[in-house]
Symmetry: none
Subunit: 414 residues, 2 copies
């Protein structure tokens, strides 16, 4: 077993606790740390609150071998990271004359004199190494505290990123030993979360490394695998073995082995096969076309889409016979098939894909509930359809219907 | 000064510690809690790690009056929230027969029998109130522990949100004091971030309450206003005054005063005016149609959309003259106008809206760079167009182009 180096990230600043702010620094740092073989075990976001921050730093230092704080190094009263970290570690805060001179110098280079309050940024924690900040006035700090590395980084990404890359990464590498962390994401369509888990739990639960997490996301199951190894290749080998075993259990229901989206997978298969596609949508309102064309280069295989929202559009542009609409209604298997064949003929493509359904909240009838969706696929000499009852709200029903339609095409292309 | 109730949010799940995952639940919860006058003081993200989670729950319970956990209530081995919370609070975990029956019932309603592992979701912490989950199998819990409210919510947003709104909000309201926090979001189209700030900084900087934050989001500027008051009405009055002053400065560029989306605003105007619309898209590939039809009831005004990705489709389905494509190219003002008029005629609508452009990364020529987009609007007796050079990657260019097209229609409908 590997003992992996564990890290915690503490993001500091009251503004990060507003409902519209995401802490993007910690995502970036996680990626960098993972690359160095360091696993992030916990993240905390704390406001400009002395007591809570002190506790957070103390707890993190006790639990983890790497603690990185971001933010709170500015020149104002509510930039408390320096003084609170010093207190949490039981160290003094000292004025560093050289840092002070550098900050003064920086202001002078812009032709202004240093505001008095910026001298606060020259206060350095006892025995900390100072990390230069070419993009700002706040220097960072690296502290070795009873075997734990504590790193204080500024909040602005353009100051934080180069500081981490130039002055922190190599210091951590030497502590990480030579263990690497590699992640992989498999995506599954057409199965429920518990059904997936029931099938693959006997497989993944045999392994502590890789670790497996199953996630339900819109209409997909995501299987996240994380492996640790002495080299990236070692970790990849572990991932290969587990993902092969998972594939044996789930087969074709896995549509992506490296986190690709359904539209990327379908697009690649169309492209490789030299096929062309046209799409006719009712309830999804253009979502399938939009997803397919989000992929760069999709103009090679995606020829035309029609959003036939009204019955008139279905007749006029897709050539659906009025009698079908009359007898079966717009949400029916015969109309779905006629739409698929209609768009295929209009666009002269290899495949015609269609969707008609009731996305809600209105539009349901006694025998046609919200969530009833038909998807159909037409090709030379063959038309097939699927009937679905999709749970969820309007947004989810539309998304899941688009996924089911693309999945129908994907399975045909295998 | 008001003494406000303080809350902590603990997001649980190893997948949330991956570099590509944001914890959007906690943003939404922060907004809801703020509305109730409850301030969020700390957020923690912790993996499926018994020891760290137990410590996080213990610490939070000691420090804060409201503790909300999200996630980890699923049916699998790594869903540890139930058992670890019970342990942290020193309470037992008991099988709730009624909850078990409801979960069984839910599976039966989908025509399948409950997988054995789901019985784990019927384990309830001693003396907890069970919070129903109409959108999933995992019930939530509300625990009153030595004066602190501990709330366990499921991770999927579509389960978490209604559960909070229906079963948690009112329980917390009765604990919150009499200070209310009210937020409002104005949305601006067609102006840059610094231009907006330059115009309105002299206005909003005069106020400490409401607080103003300007955010740049895809192609919109969002102006977030947060006011505090003894009653919601007091806070609303403060917001009214400031947003009126902001409107004086920005005029028609503000398209939403209550956080509505562009497609909602346009849809409402079409609906109220009794107008109909059809859309012809090239580079946006169905995005405009998809956005418009995401609004419930859009079938009233949205008649038809065509994604004319190939030149053939532009001629065949939109009636664009070959000579226009030959002389000006597909990405040109004359073709944009012909597409708008073509779809209007085909669908017989009041308005025809079109987009053609180069979303990249490929497709640019010497005189037509990536980001060049034409949008056009046709109506009885009038066609107009706009030429845009849009910065960003493929995804952003497409989104901003769709926004510009909808904004062209919105301004016409004023």
């Amino acid at each position: 077993m590997f003992e992996s180096l564990t890290a915690e990230i503490i993001a500091i600043g009251s503004e990060l606790l507003a409902p519209d702010r995401t802490d993007t620094n910690s995502l970036w740092l996680t990626e960098q740390l993972n690359r160095l073989g360091i696993e992030v075990k916990l993240k905390t976001i704390v406001g400009d609150d002395d007591a809570r921050l002190e506790e957070a730093i103390k707890d993190a230092t006790r639990r983890s071998k790497v603690v990185i704080t971001t933010g709170g190094l500015g020149p104002t009263e509510d930039d408390i990271t320096r003084k609170v970290t010093a207190r949490a570690l039981g160290r003094r805060l000292l004025l560093d004359e050289q840092v002070l001179a550098e900050i003064r110098q920086r202001f002078q280079s812009f032709g202004v004199s240093m505001p008095e309050r910026n001298s606060r940024q020259a206060m350095v924690i006892e025995d900390a190494e100072v990390l230069p900040n070419p993009n700002g006035t706040a220097p960072g700090m690296f502290i070795d505290h009873q075997g734990t590395a504590i790193v204080l980084l500024p909040g602005p990404p353009r100051e934080l990123k180069p500081m981490f890359e130039n002055y922190v990464a190599h210091r951590l590498t030497s502590r990480a030993g030579n263990q690497k962390v590699v992640r992989r994401m498999l995506r599954v369509a057409g199965m429920g979360e518990s059904a997936v888990d029931e099938k693959i739990a006997p497989v993944y639960s045999r392994y502590e490394n890789p670790q497996t997490t199953i996630l339900f996301n819109q209409s997909e199951i995501e299987i996240h695998l994380t492996a640790r190894g002495r080299t990236e290749k070692d970790a990849e080998t572990l991932l290969d073995r587990l993902s092969e075993e998972i594939e044996e259990r789930l087969g074709n229901s896995i549509f992506a082995f490296a986190g690709e989206t359904m539209e990327q997978v379908v697009g690649l298969k169309l492209s490789v096969g030299g096929y062309t596609l046209a799409v006719a949508e009712s309830c999804t309102g253009g979502l399938v076309a939009q997803r397919l064309t989000e992929v760069p280069g999709s103009s090679k295989y995606f020829i035309e889409g029609v959003v036939a929202y009204s019955n008139e559009a279905k007749m006029r542009t897709l050539g659906v016979e009025p009698i079908l609409l009359l007898h079966h209604g717009a949400v029916s298997a015969p109309v779905a098939e006629a739409m698929a064949e209609g768009i295929r003929k209009r666009a002269g493509t290899d495949f015609g894909l269609s969707i008609t359904g009731i996305a809600g909240p209105g539009g349901a009838t006694e025998d046609k509930p919200v969530g009833l969706v038909f998807v159909a696929l037409a090709m030379e000499g063959n038309i097939e359809h699927r009937k679905l009852i999709i749970p969820g709200d309007r947004h989810l029903i539309r998304w899941r219907a688009s996924q089911a339609a693309l999945d129908l095409l994907r399975r045909r292309l295998i």
